[in-house]
Amino acid sequence: MKLVLEAVTREVNGESHLYSMSMALEPGLNVLLGPTQAGKTSLMRVMAGLDRPTTGQVLVDGQDVTGRPIQQRNVAFVYQQFINYPSLTVFENIASPLRLQKKISNDEIQRRVRETAEMMRIGHLLDRLPAALSGGQQQRTAIARALVKQAPLLLLDEPLVNLDYKLREELRAELGQIFARRNAIVVYSTTEPLEALLMGGVTAVLDKGDLLQIGPTLAVYHQPAQRRVGEVFSDPPLNILPAVFEGGLALLSGDVRFPLPPHMAGLAGGTYWLGVRAHHVAMEAHLGREIEIPAWIELAELSGSETIVHADHRDGSGGEFHLIAQLSGIHNFSYEQQARLYLDPHRLFAFTASGALAASPPRAADQRKERA
């Protein structure tokens, strides 16, 4: 199956939820990544046939299905909320889409439900009612019900967002593997960059109803076409530093300047935005980290195994910017402490003043390949 959207737009009460979007999806994992209000749900509803696009076409295997209701398409949909039939057991919940199809024998239903339940690790819960399950188990049931149909199009709208983080961690690791084995177009929406990376496949980055970029997940992550893509696809947020390039030097603020690294050498002078991901901001000097930035530490967030330091740089002439550093392990910092942050110029993205990607850092893996 191949799903093609051609210049799909959607307006509700004069408000645009989707601007013109075109994409072609192949069987495999497709992640829709974007913050809230990006249009992820609107897009999935159009793909499913729950909503009709205002303009544009939806094609399945070259056939126009725009406006065909969801009942007449073979689609499975999983929502954020754990939606199950409260009066049916887990078994009957999972079996429900099969019962609607007339031609499936009872034995076949038994076999497929058990197989899917085992895969979602709820095989031991088949006799329970949804109310007797934990949130994670309820969502596993809902996902199993979607999987059992073996629909060629499986849509999951932020399915893990309402789970505790430990459950989320377990489930998303499993889901990626389960989806990878299916011959279906799986569309998975999320706000979390980490989830997109875990799922792999293709990622489409959405923001405010616009499709910003679509491509293989790691390629989008390492080469964001615009500043906004980099921001959406970074957690902690992408550091954005205003810079002026002049005569082979980059000027960050009154007191921070450094020679342009090779991947930016070809850029014309002018103003740019430099982007650097938080895990490339260090608190220790090291070979290659040539940019040294004095800053005041504002807050250190501890995420369990990582420390995320928020710091402010202010120079004498009123220039200032905010920097976020992500450090492995748990470290203690006190508030309003002076510190020095270090950047490796080879890790910097450069975006033009209007936000387009001007230069992206060479990847270590690519460098390794070159060396070999």
Partner: protein, 288 residues
């Protein structure tokens, strides 16, 4: 919302549309028919235009009934709303006591309306009624609802309070239970007294249900018929002749169908307008 279109859905709505047309629109058209013609007998009719309407609007008895009914409705609200809140506050929040008191409170609501009237007609009688006897002989206050307009008014009012305050109380009770515990806990931590808790937490959180209660009670009392008809028949004199009773006197008592129809339509319109006013008020207040 622009959904994918499925025209078969209309078929499912059709039975409802048909039955509403049969039960509501056809009878209404009959009334319209009578309100613009003078029908003297089968095949004998005279087109009179808006005469019945003008006649009705200028009728001083009807004005009197209108003001009487309005006064009654306001008294009903003035008593039943605070009383209903008070009852709801006094009810236990949980346990078997809660279930028991809810059942007891709801009893008057389960009694057919004309039975309510009959109960109070007997209850209030000075000779054989418990209430009437008590007021006259034990309290020593002269009371007779068949003779004294004031007594009749009070009887109908008390009966309505007895019949309908439980509805307000139940609505408020549901509203009170919907207030999350942290609000009470926070108020205790803030050192709030009971009165402050009522004024700053309970009353504001009840606003939604109270608006519904006011709407229902106003509409119902403005259309009241059965109970006063059974107890007082609108009397003595016109003391308890509310709009509905007056209407049935014209239409059924005097068989004055033209006047009755015109009056019905005006009455209907009035209720619609009041409904609309209340409805938009609720929406607007809810949005704030």
């Amino acid at each position: 919302m622009q959904k994918t279109v499925n025209h078969r859905a209309w078929l499912l709505v059709l039975p409802v549309v048909l039955s509403v047309a049969f039960s509501a629109i056809l009878p209404l058209m009959t009334v319209v028919n009578y309100s613009v013609q003078d029908i003297l007998g089968p095949g004998q009719r005279v087109w009179v235009g808006n005469e019945w309407f003008i006649d009705t609007v200028r009728n001083p008895d009807l004005h009197a009934a209108f003001w009487r009914n309005l006064l009654f409705s306001f008294q009903v609200l003035l008593i039943q709303i605070p009383l209903g809140i008070a009852v709801a506050l006094a009810l236990p929040a949980k346990g078997w006591q809660a279930s028991l008191s809810l059942v007891l409170i709801a009893l008057p609501l389960l009694i057919p309306w004309n039975v309510v009237g009959t109960i109070w007609q007997i209850f209030g009688r000075a000779d054989i009624g418990l209430g009437g006897y008590f007021v006259n002989n034990i309290l020593g206050i002269s009371y007779n609802y068949t003779l004294e307009p004031r007594d009749a008014w009070i009887t109908v009012l008390v009966m309505d309070v007895w019949h309908w305050t439980p509805l307000v109380a139940l609505l408020c009770y549901a509203g009170l239970r919907a207030i999350p515990d942290p609000f009470y806990q926070a108020a205790r931590i803030d050192g709030a007294k009971l009165w402050s808790i009522f004024w700053y937490i309970q009353l504001p959180k009840l606003r939604g249900v109270l608006l519904i209660a006011v709407l229902l009670r106003f509409m119902d009392s403005f259309m009241i018929y059965t109970e006063p008809f059974v107890v007082t028949g609108g009397g003595p004199g016109t003391a308890t002749t509310f709009l509905s009773i007056y209407l049935s006197n014209i239409a059924i008592g005097q068989f004055d169908l033209g006047n009755g129809s015109a009056f019905s339509l005006i009455y209907f319109l009035l209720i619609q307008i009041l409904c609309f006013v209340f409805y938009t008020t609720i929406l607007r207040v809810g949005r704030k």
